[in-house]
Amino acid sequence: MTYLIVLTFILLGSAWLEWGLRTRVLRRWRRLLLALLIGGAPFLLWDIYAVAAGHWWFDSEQLSSVMLPFGIPLEEFLFFPIVGFAGILTLEAVRSVRGGPMGDEPVAAVSAKSDGADG
């Protein structure tokens, strides 16, 4: 259960930012899912390779018994979207406090700091 507890801690430890700092990441869920998919996939593939190559392995005693293909435990798979989500929340939380810019603002908004319709 250790790994599941750690993942829950990461999720709860960052999810409050969505409410407390109004990060509005969940309301941009399509962008979130695509960023996690594109940015996380290479590292999941690295993980699969590393397990196959014997670079690291997992203690099954401390895991749920759910094993996914390529020898990846459920918790290890969940690590990627949960940590990625926490990272995006953290970046948007810093932007919430400091105001940015972060490089994704409309060209006019960088100076005017006003925002119009979506994209």
């Binding site: 399509r30 962008r31 690295w46 690291w56 990272g87 970046l91 810093v94 972060m102 925002d115």
Partner: protein, 130 residues
């Protein structure tokens, strides 16, 4: 290839992606480094639990430190920091930087650029606009 070599190559590759491919240039922004510092702290904490309690174990010949097949992980030393291989820090840095760069890149391309984040709940929107 060893974990060490892949980790170094991954960090270099993601730096090129951020600076030259997607041109998101998060590495040049203070806000990214503030966010990374927060994540770094929590990585040491959470990864320390996973590696210190040996949920994840490493082969001695795959990284710079001493593997779990040789000795129990130590808090600092033997190629480890907070029980975890120092390579884990490179893995985490590369993964976070790539995910955040893609997040910013998608927004810049117009995918759900809004609603934007902020202001914090302890500020009213009027205060934040001033």
């Amino acid at each position: 290839m060893s974990y060490t070599l892949i980790a170094v190559v991954a960090v270099a590759a993601v730096i090129v992606v951020d600076l030259a491919v997607l041109r998101t240039r998060l590495l040049l922004r203070a806000d990214f480094w503030i966010a990374y510092a927060i994540m770094f702290f929590f990585q040491l904490l959470t990864n320390g639990v996973l590696t210190g309690r040996e949920v994840v174990q490493y082969a001695d010949d795959s990284f710079l430190g001493v593997g779990n097949d040789v000795a129990e992980p130590v808090f600092i030393g033997s190629g480890r920091l907070f029980f975890a291989p120092v390579e884990d820090l490179l893995f985490g840095f590369a993964m976070i930087l790539l995910i955040l760069a893609v997040w910013i890149w998608l927004g810049r391309r117009g995918l759900q650029r809004t609603p934007t984040s902020g202001p914090p709940r302890w500020q009213t929107p009027i205060e934040a606009a001033e």
